[in-house]
Subunit: 169 residues, 2 copies
DNA sequence: ATTAGCGATGTTATAATGTTTCACTAATTT
DNA sequence: AAATTAGTGAAACATTATAACATCGCTAAT
């Protein structure tokens, strides 16, 4: 079983961002964590882009907002959002993406198109199991998994850049 | 099936480095690629450390050699070594480690101890299969996999830091 | 109400990592 | 030997991330 292929389908992105923010508010309330304006704005910016954003992209966006932000502002917000499972860091890109399974326990993994830079987060119990099994064979205690698969998404394989299939180029 | 648990066992590390270099020379010869002194030295430095080394660690080591090196020297050598499957980049650490399956076709994955920083490279057909299957379900063409598992190695779980079980702290 | 405590933020500076560019040299091919 | 190509040296620069310390604002307990 695998999650829904979000970025490859046209959809009402504004609604999907709003849904993500609503989920985040609920998750933070439940955890007695404070989703402050800066944190919420960073999460919103990340969700508005289907492509992973770098910390300095976020910083620039905050500056456009009129927010007089410095790097620590962004990194602190990102730390918070990561700790609460609301965003993932894509290590191979030095960039951040909204978690499409926020709230679930999961080890996300990512299909990253090297051409259009869209990222699809999947969750696969089979994959989790294979990782856990291989680790156990070494008596290794898994804490955190980073699984990043680079390649070509369906649209880019067919030569058609995925124009119009999502909200942001 | 899973590869041998290299860093967790005592062994003659000088010999294991020499073996890696010999393999590398053969692989490069077969590929008509030039394992120049700088490249070979970088590979040797990486192998001498069982822990992943950063580019600037390597740069410092080259400088100690008397080599008047700048960052591009190191990055170029690392690019070459990666292209020929002799080293892997661990994206979550911004560091590089010797490939223990050089020459094989494989998608390596890594167990990274957050305490002692040892890294164990494994190869698991089951895991490869699960990745490929999940990707195919999305019609995604996999080119490169980065699978990095952070946690605690057996020695660090037991409270015993892995002293003496390998050559380098 | 006052204030101690604490989480969050602002601010400045700096560290760590990675790239571009261009000039030059060594090796390989023709 | 000349032409071509791969590799290197060197300086500058770009990007990503953190350290350190001051301040603000809320809460909660006296």
């Amino acid at each position: 079983m695998v999650s829904t292929p979000l970025p490859y389908r046209p959809h009402n992105h504004a609604a999907c961002v709003e849904q993500a923010l609503a989920d985040a508010r609920r998750i933070c309330t439940d955890a007695s964590a404070r989703l402050t304006p800066t944190r919420e704005r960073v999460l919103e910016l990340i969700w508005q882009s289907h492509k992973p954003l770098g910390a300095y992209d976020l910083l620039a966006a905050l500056t456009l907002d009129g927010h007089n932000a410095a790097p620590p502002t962004v990194y602190r917000a990102l730390d918070f959002l990561q700790q609460h499972g609301l965003v993932h860091r894509i290590a191979s890109l030095n960039a951040f993406t909204g978690c499409t399974h926020a709230g679930d326990h999961h080890t996300g993994f990512f299909l990253i198109c090297r051409q259009c830079h869209n990222v699809l987060e999947l969750a696969s119990p089979d994959l989790d199991g294979a990782v856990e099994q291989a680790a156990q064979a070494q008596k290794f205690a898994v804490e955190k998994s980073t699984i990043e698969i680079a390649g070509l998404c369906p649209a880019c394989q067919s030569g058609t850049p995925p124009e119009g299939t999502h909200c942001h180029e």
